[in-house]
């Protein structure tokens, strides 16, 4: 039961990084790939209907950690106090920016909030998890650089997949540039883990680059998503043995009763969530056109 809940939590974090990963990338790159306000609006509209639902993966992952492994939850967030504070500040600025930018007179402040609020958490999540695994500032910086670069790549590929015309062209260029930065960082960051998923994650990034080059945007997006899945799996394989320094999963876990109850609830509700979130992507499956 403890193992099962660890896998569920790893699944929820993986979902979060895959989904919000491209949200972060789009948030960071929208001003880069857009030249006009209409293009900027179209770029952000690619994530408009889905980003809030994507963020709930984080809420659920953290809620599930709180319920299933209270000591892990408590130790992780009190241990990484300042980075988590900044992540929260970033998510606040970004959320408000995305919701308000269509309703304010001048979206300048909102756009600034979106860029900072996307880049900051994208970097800091990597720093927090690297810090959790290895400790120390160099590891944290490398981990942060890795997630920042991969989110940028993932988001750029998503933008190329979901837009048309000049935005799509610039997004492809941005994706190739992000790939050029991510791959060396990924080699440095993931070879430290050395496990099979970590190594295949690097291969997936290389594949994403080649596919972007050949304008196979759908497959490129699958490859960046795959790279994030594999990297997250690699991280959680390490955390399974030692979720926090001096703590084992069994010590951190809630009782058998709670875990059983949570399993039933998750089993019943999660399929519905996946279906209606999937449906949202289906409804908004078409590329976003630049208005006017």
């Amino acid at each position: 039961m403890i193992e099962l809940w660890f896998v569920i939590i790893a699944f929820l974090w993986t979902g979060y990084f895959v989904l919000e990963g491209f949200d972060f990338g789009v948030g960071m790159l929208a001003p880069v790939v857009s030249r006009t306000p209409a293009e900027q609006r179209a770029s952000l509209q690619t994530i408009g209907p889905v980003w809030d639902g994507n963020e709930v993966w984080l809420i659920t992952a953290v809620g599930a950690m709180f319920a299933a492994f209270p000591a892990w939850y408590a130790g992780m967030f009190s241990g990484f106090y300042l980075p988590v504070t900044l992540i929260l500040a970033g998510l606040i600025m970004r959320g408000v920016g995305l919701e308000w930018r269509g309703k304010v007179a001048s979206p300048l402040w909102c756009d600034l909030g979106i860029v900072v609020g996307s880049a900051l958490p994208a970097f800091l999540w990597g720093a927090v998890f690297a810090g959790l695994l290895f400790g120390g500032a160099p590891a944290a910086l490398l981990g942060g650089a890795f997630t920042l670069a991969v989110c940028a790549l993932h988001g750029a590929v998503f933008l190329a997949l979901k837009t048309t015309g000049p935005v799509r062209r610039r997004a492809r260029v941005a994706a190739l540039a992000a790939a050029g930065v991510s791959i060396p960082i990924a080699v440095a960051a993931l070879s430290g883990l050395g496990t099979f998923p970590a190594l295949t994650a690097m291969a997936a990034l290389a594949a994403a680059t080649a596919l972007t080059w050949r304008r196979r945007e759908g497959w490129a997006f699958a490859a960046t998503a795959g790279a994030i899945v594999l990297a997250t799996v690699a991280v959680f394989m390490e955390l399974r043995v030692r979720p926090l320094p001096g703590l084992t999963l069994a010590e951190a876990a809630s009782g058998e009763y709670t875990l059983t109850m949570l399993s039933w609830i998750g089993l019943i509700t999660l399929p519905f969530v996946l279906v209606y979130q999937g449906w949202t992507y289906w409804v908004f499956r078409k590329r976003v056109q630049v208005a006017g």
């Binding site: 659920t60 809620g63 709180f66 809630s254």
Partner: protein
């Protein structure tokens, strides 16, 4: 001043701030869904205009509710790691259920609603706003079940210094939660109704358009009904306090010693004989426990310490809650009476309706202060003290940093939110809302 004090301030500031937006999300979502349903049923154009108008105000507010809510979920782990480790087995379950059952539904369907006007069939689009509104209301239930457990822990045992859940059903049907849910959700509808009334009041002073009258009437009905629910469940809450949290009740009444046939203190010096016993036990002769006698009993039970909450805050927040809450409900009942059978809104009433925005907000905040400060010095009544709940490894400087950052950010956003809401209220309804998909010539698949 130590890390504990600042952590408490941070919890107070972020939670009160969060709860300025939550009631509007809970109540206004249903109101907007109701407007859209009215448009769907009657086909009247002005319902569509109102849906879009209040929908926009709802979304401006919703954003703030969401982002300030994320802080809440992390804050337990960041500042209150001892608390989290102690309660997670029980307290975490409703939080996880809230995310799975409520937040996913709320945010996903709201995204579909915002961007789906032209992409979804009319009926499906209407269903998305209802799904989002139901999600918001479900979330209130789960978080209140978690909160109620702190005041009246049930369905658990303590093993190795940690609470272990033994009965999820007992946690979810905690008598305190069942009294609290209608009380808090009802007050959310009062706040939302008051918000709509203030907006309508503003417009009724400027135009005679029928649409503002109909929106105001609907909001008056909503506020009056919700107000009755709040008052009724307030009474049952008082009875539960008498049984479960006598210290809070005693502090709220400034009652120092156990008293038979206790009087209700309106304000210090003015008392209504036997009313407190009547309200709290439904028996005018019943004994109500006092703070000093409870303190002596708690010291015998739990060891030395001060088990009394801040008497001034608890006493006065109780009165502010009642006065401001009843004033809102009174205003709505008066408004219903004055505008019965299509009578017009008198100008002074429209002006008075502007007060319907601040009055209930003050009442709900006072209610939370009563509820949570009245629980002190415990985080989990009888099990865990607030002082023992704080994160041991988090320094004063760290809490000070996050408290400063959140306060500055929240302050700036509060100003921005008020400016933005005011601008959109003044902007009024859009005269020609874009026609929904079904009425357009081109097929709805044209993106």
């Amino acid at each position: 001043m130590d890390a504990l004090d600042l952590a408490r301030w941070q919890f107070g500031v972020t939670t009160v701030y969060h709860f300025l937006f939550v009631p509007l999300t809970i109540g206004l979502g249903v109101f907007v869904a109701g407007l859209q349903t009215a448009w769907h049923r009657t086909g009247k154009e002005h319902y569509l205009k109102l849906t879009k108008f209040f929908g926009k105000l709802f979304l401006i507010n919703f954003a703030m509710g969401v982002v300030t809510g994320i802080v809440q979920e992390f804050q337990f782990g960041m500042n209150w790691s001892e608390y989290s480790t102690f309660v997670g087995d029980v307290f975490g379950a409703p939080l996880a259920m809230e995310a799975l059952l409520a937040f996913f539904m709320e945010s996903t369907f709201l995204g579909l609603w915002i961007f789906g006007w032209d992409r979804l069939p009319k009926k499906v689009h209407l269903a998305t706003i209802w799904a989002a509104a139901i999600g918001s209301n479900l979330s209130a239930y789960f978080i209140l079940a978690a909160n109620a457990w702190m005041k009246h822990p049930v369905g658990y045992e303590v093993v190795d210094g940690k609470a272990r859940m033994t009965d999820l059903w007992a946690v979810l049907t905690n008598s305190t939660a069942l009294a609290q849910v209608p009380h808090v959700v009802g007050s959310a509808f009062v706040v939302a109704g008051g918000f709509v009334l203030a907006v309508c009041g503003y417009w009724l002073l400027r135009t005679r358009a029928e649409m503002w009258r109909s929106a105001a009437r609907a909001a008056l009905v909503m506020t009056a009904i919700a107000g009755a629910v709040v008052a009724g469940t307030g009474d049952s809450s008082a009875r539960l306090l008498h049984e479960q949290q006598p210290m809070k009740l005693a502090a709220a009444e400034g009652l120092e010693h156990d008293t038979q046939g206790a009087a209700f203190t309106v304000v210090p010096g003015i008392e209504i004989p036997k009313l407190l016993s009547l309200l709290s036990a439904h028996d005018p002769g019943a004994t109500v426990q006092g703070t000093e006698d409870l303190q002596a009993r708690f010291e015998r039970q739990f060891g030395p310490g001060d088990y009394r909450p801040d008497p001034t805050v608890v006493f006065w927040s109780f009165r502010v809650m009642i006065v401001f809450g009843l004033a809102t409900v009174g205003l709505s009942v008066l408004g219903l009476w004055l505008t019965r059978r299509r009578r017009p809104f008198p100008a002074w009433l429209s002006r008075a309706l502007l007060l319907a925005l601040p009055l209930p907000l003050v009442a709900v905040i006072a209610g939370w202060l009563l509820s949570e400060i009245g629980r002190q010095p415990w985080t989990v009544t009888g099990e865990l003290l607030t002082a023992a709940s704080v994160s041991p490894g988090v320094s004063l400087a760290e809490v000070a940093t996050s408290l400063t950052l959140f306060t500055l950010l929240y302050g700036a956003l509060a100003v921005a939110e008020v400016v933005l809401l005011a601008r959109h209220v003044r902007g009024g309804v859009e005269e020609r809302p874009p026609a929904p998909a079904a009425e357009r010539r081109e097929p709805s698949l044209m993106y």
